[in-house]
């Protein structure tokens, strides 16, 4: 009995150590680059997403990354879902959410004209998925020197290291290139990238965009938040947004988890007490 409990505790402890949100990078990348481990608000058993960070992150995606990278697993309406960047209590249905509608209208999507059958372009509506950036992978490669800009919807889950990996990839471009490494044109040095060579030029540059001043309600009083768009800030924000897009159910999952673990602990205790009662005075 004790053995069993110890074993389970060991198993749990082993994997708890890996962090409660995806895999965390071991510490250093292959080329001696020291990985940063930002204190993400969504880590831990009660972690949540920061809506302001996600909104800034969406802006970074829209203004910088969407030039080449698609996000085909999410639709505009997902932005308005609970836990998402543009969720507001006043609009429980994301399809009615004016922010979501405005964001969708900011994109052009392809559709078929029912009369002529031709492919036409129209503005997006919340129900539309984020449109592809290129018509097909071959076109994507042709526009990017043979390299394919991967879809970012689940990028944070598609790399061991998760959010830390994405953040460090974006901020590691400054790392000095070793003298013995030769780079062909169109390839850049990034120690976080597997192999050290990446076909994407440093996407985040100081001054590439500006964050608008945001008014928030802080315990009843209006506060203005002005965030400076440094490379680290933009990297952290877009990573935050991509973490949400990879795992939009995180908050719901952790909330349910708390209730389930509490209930199961109580139930297991009751089973234990029943067991003791049944086996009282029985030699075994």
């Amino acid at each position: 009995m004790l053995k069993k409990v110890l074993f389970s505790a060991a198993a749990v402890g082993l994997l708890f150590g890996a962090g409660t949100n995806g895999a965390v990078a071991a510490g250093g990348s292959d080329y001696g680059y020291k990985m940063a481990h930002p204190d993400w608000s969504f880590m831990g058993i009660s972690g949540t997403y920061d809506p302001n960070a996600m909104r800034r992150g969406y802006q970074v995606y829209r203004e910088v990354c969407s030039a080449c990278h698609a996000m085909d697993q999410i639709a505009f309406r997902h932005l308005g879902d609970p836990g998402g960047p543009f969720h507001y209590e006043a609009y429980p249905n994301p399809n009615d959410n004016p922010y979501v509608k405005a964001i969708a209208a900011d994109w052009t999507v392809e559709d078929l004209d029912p009369e002529s059958g031709d492919v036409v372009e129209r503005v997006g509506i919340p129900a539309d998925p984020f449109p592809p950036i290129y018509p097909n992978p071959a076109a994507a490669r042709a526009s990017n020197g043979g390299a394919y800009p991967p879809d970012l919807s689940v990028m944070v889950k598609a790399r061991s290291g998760g959010a830390d990996y994405v953040y460090n990839l974006l901020t590691a471009y400054d790392a000095p290139k070793p003298a013995d490494v030769k780079l062909t044109p169109g390839v850049y040095w990034n120690p976080v990238m597997d192999g050290g060579k990446i076909a994407m030029k440093a996407p985040l540059i100081e001054g590439i965009l500006e964050y608008p001043v945001v008014t928030v309600d802080d315990h009843g009083e209006s506060k203005e938040i002005a965030v400076e768009a440094t490379v680290e800030q933009m990297a952290a924000d877009v990573t935050h947004f991509l973490a949400w897009s990879a795992d939009p159910k995180l908050e719901e999952r952790k909330r349910a988890g708390f209730a389930v673990m509490a209930y199961l602990s109580l139930l297991t205790l009751l089973f234990f007490l029943s067991y003791k009662r049944v086996w009282k005075n029985v030699e075994h």
């Binding site: 409990v5 085909d72 790399r159 597997d194 719901e252 349910a256 988890g257 067991y275």
Partner: protein, 445 residues
């Protein structure tokens, strides 16, 4: 272990049913079944396994309502389940984590069998059915893993179906027949879906045979001494129903922890990348529960040799009842065998570790070479050593140790081991009623 059924239908309705189909009788007999009174928590994994099988089937059928088995839509349909289907994220997590929990429980269940000699007479067939169930579990898990159509799904399928290509003469034809094409493709995905759906129901049938066989031969117990009197046993309900319930509760806590807090920890990040037939992942690794066999596969340089060795590792389990020569069931009383078993367990973990790593990497570093790089024992070498021990244990050690070992004296009965000598003598006088063993098999000892 069970004598004639003691069920008496109490109502006219239940009597009517009992005369036509004794299903209530079967349930009642199950509840009063005399189980050894000394079963410990290692014996709860059977119930846990049954629970997970039911959970996997229910969540699997539900996922089947939303999943689309087509190379263009498979990945997207899984994402849709996680994002848009109400509680889809929960169904998918339960199913994926459940597969890992299934294997965790089955390994504990098998280790219990190895330690307490549950595969020995008269339970050889029970063990063999069990190994067959394990094989079907492995097939089901492999087929299921291909369905999300991620990079690991695709390339894992390519590697495993490639095994068949290694068979001389018929290999290539057989592989292409299995694949339905020249390589893993849509034809492969659709048939893997169909097979993944059907195998669990075969598993249900085998479970019924397994439990029937168990109830016929009677349960083993930690001291391996067959129950002789009624005092050696307790009714399954409420003693073991409540003990199983408590074990299930602890198990569910572990299950829930992974589902709600670490849903991807037991999987692989590469499976979040859509399958690309033109790009092989840097390291193709199977799920953790296959890692020991993966290590065995890579332990020999020859492709066909590795494949035969890997299947041999499972085949050897089928003949285990005849490999172990000891007349004593439980390793509690086998001082030498116990230590070899302990090494076997550690060896299994190391095999798993080796399976996860790159063969050329250094496992145990000692010293540096001329360039200043660490040298030492490679994972390849470590894999060979651990594979050798795995086969040594079953093919040499168990047969040999059984013959030369001097076992410790076993208690005369379960009651004696539980209550002590004096009480056993007292109760033996008072209660002369022996336990009836159907089939007329005498207790082994």
């Amino acid at each position: 272990m069970a004598g004639p059924s003691t069920y008496e239908p109490k109502y006219a309705a239940t009597k009517w049913v009992d005369q036509r189909l004794p299903i209530i009788r079967m349930g009642s007999d199950f509840m009063v079944y005399p189980s050894p009174r000394n079963l410990n928590y290692w014996y709860t994994f059977g119930a846990i396994l049954a629970l997970i099988l039911v959970s996997q089937i229910i969540t699997g059928v539900i996922l089947g309502m939303h999943y689309v088995a087509s190379v263009d839509q498979a990945f997207d349909s899984v994402q849709r389940i996680r994002r848009d289907v109400p509680y889809g994220w929960l169904m998918q997590s339960m199913h994926a984590v459940g597969a890992s929990m299934f294997f965790l429980a089955v390994y504990m269940h098998m280790f219990r069998g190895l330690y307490y000699g549950s595969y020995k007479a008269p339970r050889e067939l029970l063990w063999i059915i069990g190994v067959l169930m394990y094989l079907i579990m492995m097939a089901t898990a492999f087929l299921g893993y291909t369905l999300p159509w991620g990079q690991m799904s695709f390339w894992g399928a390519t590697v495993i179906t490639g095994f068949f290509g290694a068979i001389p003469v018929v290999g290539q034809g057989l592989q292409e027949w299995l694949l339905g094409g020249y390589a893993v493709s849509n034809a492969t995905l659709t048939r893997f879906y169909s097979l993944h759906f059907v195998l669990p129901f075969i598993l249900v049938g085998l479970t019924a045979l397994h439990v029937w066989g168990l109830h016929h031969a009677g349960q083993n117990n930690p001291i391996g001494v067959t129950p002789k009197t009624k005092k050696d046993t307790l009714a399954f309900h409420p003693y073991y129903t409540v003990k199983d319930a408590f074990a299930v509760g602890v198990f569910l806590l572990i299950f829930a922890f992974f589902i709600f807090y670490q849903p991807d920890a037991l999987g692989h990040a590469d499976n979040y990348i859509k399958a690309d037939p033109l790009l092989t992942p840097a390291h193709i690794v199977p799920e953790w529960y296959f890692l020991p066999f993966y290590a065995i596969l890579r332990a020999v340089p020859d492709k066909l040799g590795g494949i035969l060795l890997m299947f041999g590792a499972i085949a050897v389990l089928f003949i285990l009842p005849w490999l172990d020569t000891s007349k004593v069931r439980s390793m509690r009383f086998r001082p030498i065998a116990k230590w070899f078993f302990a090494i076997f367990i550690v060896n299994a973990f190391v095999l798993g570790w080796v399976g996860a790593e790159v063969p050329d990497d250094i496992a145990v570093p000692f010293g540096t070479n001329a360039e200043g790089n660490a040298t030492g024992m490679s994972f390849y070498r470590l894999g060979q050593i651990t594979t050798a021990y795995y086969f040594l244990y079953f093919l040499i050690i168990l047969p040999f140790v059984g013959l030369i070992e001097r076992p410790k004296p076993r208690p005369a009965s379960i009651t004696q081991s539980v209550l002590g000598e004096a009480e056993a003598r007292r109760s033996a006088k008072a209660d002369k009623e022996p336990v009836v063993v159907p089939g007329g098999l005498a207790p082994a000892e």
